[in-house]
């Protein structure tokens, strides 16, 4: 075929937003390090940077509409401070942030972590905790909202993966 017409994408869809941001960041990273270093630490650092860029661009695409995106943004912001204490501090910070935000909305989040597992905890005890670990910012959410966040998170992750795959395919010879 002579001309390849890609299908028109919705310019404001999640996918396009993420794609633009991510590519921008990627180009920045590439601009910083033109030469490839062979040491594993360098590679690792670069990998971390790229992954962070991906996550950050995804989170920014979602803005702050979702709890997990907020939590992820917090995590990314506090990351340079320290590796080990990041997790706990982000948890605390995200919890506090959410508390302050949700107290205005009359939402009781922090006290629901332990109590909600009581009602449905017979069914969802272990898996809910595991899910909370996976989804960023899921520690201080009841099961109902957790499922909601998980659904959105899965959707965003799939978009992210698709875009990154396509970028990789595009730029591989």
């Amino acid at each position: 075929m002579n001309k390849y017409n890609p299908p028109r994408m919705n310019p404001s869809s999640l996918r396009s937003r993420f794609a633009t941001r991510f590519l921008r960041t990627l180009s920045k990273i590439n601009a910083q390090k033109p030469t490839s270093s062979s040491s594993p630490t360098e590679i690792f650092r670069r990998y971390r940077r790229i992954k962070a860029a991906a996550d950050k661009s995804m989170a920014y695409s979602v803005r702050s509409r979702r709890t997990w995106s907020r939590a992820m943004l917090w995590k990314l912001r506090t990351r340079p401070c320290g590796r080990r204490s990041v997790k706990t501090s982000t948890i605390i910070k995200s919890r506090e942030a959410r508390k302050t935000r949700h107290e205005k909305q009359n939402k009781n989040t922090t006290t629901t972590t332990t109590t909600t597992t009581g009602e449905d905890g017979v069914v969802f005890g272990v898996e809910a905790d595991e899910l909370r670990e996976l989804v960023p910012g899921g520690e201080a959410m009841d099961l109902y909202n957790l499922l909601d966040e998980t659904a959105h998170y899965i959707k965003c992750l799939t978009t992210q993966v698709q875009v990154m795959k396509k970028i990789a395919d595009f730029y591989s010879p």
């Binding site: 890609p6 033109p34 449905d120 898996e127 899910l131 989804v135 998980t150 396509k166």
Partner: protein, 432 residues
């Protein structure tokens, strides 16, 4: 009050379902009575009735009154035939008791009984005077309802072949539970059937027993509703919550690919695995940009076919991702690595994977490896003879594109039972 006490004692065995003898006596006497369509006051009848009626005035009226309190309020002429009937009888009895004084006069209970019988015969075709006090007594005994009534039902079944069953039923129904709606009893009135007597009695009994209260019709329906569904707010809230969670689970099911909903727990496990998988894919993809070190974790296979499709027309000029080092694997080192990996896999798969990772390799099935090698060998300049080796393939490329490192181990020979459930025998392929 001695005769009263004596008659109380006589009543007590009547109330006690365990003792059958007085019942049989009653049955015999009732039998005699019932066979006569008209009430003939004989001496035995008098004694019997005296026994039955006089203690009732003293002791069990209160008990008898309680089930019928609401219908007793209107004695004039309610459409509720059953209630009315019972009321009339009871009122007649009471009046007689008041008028006739204590059970001294022999004839007075007989006259009362006659009056009642007349009443009965006016209203119903049949007899049942004997049945009435008996069922009165039976209604007095709330706890022994079941057995008494059924005993009475069965006892009166055979004698009442001629059609008094309807009256018996009505009496029985009316006395046993005043909570039945009048329609039931009218039905029983109109359709007296001998074989159904026991059955209807049983069902009536079951209904009355099941409702668990002798309340009139409206609260009984509320009781019934409570049995089917919870009506208190807590359980309603819980039910709502569960429904909402079920909705969300369904929505998640559509997102997650392997969505055969067996139960919630397994569905949650699937969701968790899928989230892990996606996060891993992001990791792998971000790794692959660097090129070189491919092995993140041999957990998931990225099918090369999925990578096809439109390219993302995302940006302008972007530098090609510079590739990292190439895993240079000579044939010798390949075999060495192979043996190492094989040995490690015997002990522990995890350590084998880590070893591979350290080398910058990963695991994949042979079919995939061959597919990739054939697909990529055309487009690239094969620096090395990649793909020739059946087990280990590593394609090193020039600086233009990151290399794709692949190690495929014959999982079949190794007996891949040790791998986790999520691993199966797949591998992660880092695509350039």
């Amino acid at each position: 009050m001695q005769p009263c006490s004596r008659e109380m004692q006589a009543m007590n065995p009547l109330l006690n379902p365990a003792q059958q003898l007085p019942l049989q006596d009653l049955q015999s006497t009732a039998h005699q009575q019932i066979q006569n369509p008209h009430f003939d006051p004989t001496a035995s009848h008098d004694d019997f009735l005296e026994q039955m009626l006089s203690p009732l005035s003293s002791c069990s009226w209160s008990d008898l009154k309680s089930p019928w309190d609401p219908p007793k309020s209107d004695e004039t002429g309610p459409p509720n035939v059953g209630f009315h009937y019972d009321e009339v009888l009871a009122s007649k009895l009471r009046q007689h008791q008041i008028n006739g004084g204590d059970g001294g006069g022999v004839s007075s209970p007989a006259t009362a009984a006659i009056k009642m019988m007349a009443q009965q015969q006016m209203m119903l075709p049949g007899r049942g005077v004997a049945g009435m006090p008996l069922s009165l007594g039976s209604s007095g005994a709330a706890g022994s309802h079941h057995q008494n009534d059924i005993i009475y039902g069965s006892s009166f079944k055979s004698p009442n072949q001629q059609g008094g069953e309807g009256s018996m039923q009505s009496l029985y129904n009316g006395f046993s539970d005043g909570s039945l709606p009048g329609t039931n009893q009218t039905q029983h009135f109109q359709h007296p059937q001998a074989p159904n007597f026991g059955a209807t009695a049983g069902t009536v009994m079951n209904q009355s027993q099941a409702s668990g209260s002798m309340t009139p019709a409206q609260p009984k329906q509320r009781v019934r509703a409570r049995r089917g569904q919870a009506t208190d707010p807590h359980s309603i809230a819980e039910r709502l919550r569960r429904e909402r969670i079920a909705e969300r689970m369904k929505a998640l099911q559509e997102l997650v690919p392997n969505a055969n909903k067996t139960d919630k727990a397994s569905m949650l496990d699937e969701i968790i695995d899928y989230v892990k998988f996606l996060q891993l894919q992001v990791k792998v993809l971000s790794m692959s940009r660097l090129g070189g070190a491919a092995a993140v974790a041999p957990l998931v296979a990225e099918m090369p076919s999925e990578g096809g499709g439109d390219c993302a027309n995302g940006g302008g000029s972007i530098h090609r991702n510079s590739n990292g080092n190439q895993t240079s694997a000579d044939n010798d080192s390949v075999t060495v690595t192979e043996h190492q990996v094989a040995k490690l896999m015997e002990e522990d798969v995890g350590s084998a994977m880590q070893y591979l990772q350290g080398k910058g390799l990963c695991l994949m099935p042979i079919s995939l490896a061959t597919a990739i090698s054939t697909a990529t060998c055309h487009s690239r300049n094969p620096n090395k003879g990649g793909g020739s080796h059946p087990l280990l393939q590593s394609n090193g490329e020039g600086p233009s594109s990151p290399s794709m490192s692949v190690l495929s181990v014959q999982s079949a020979t190794r007996g891949n039972g040790g791998l986790d459930g999520s691993v199966k025998d797949a591998a992660s392929v880092s695509k350039p």
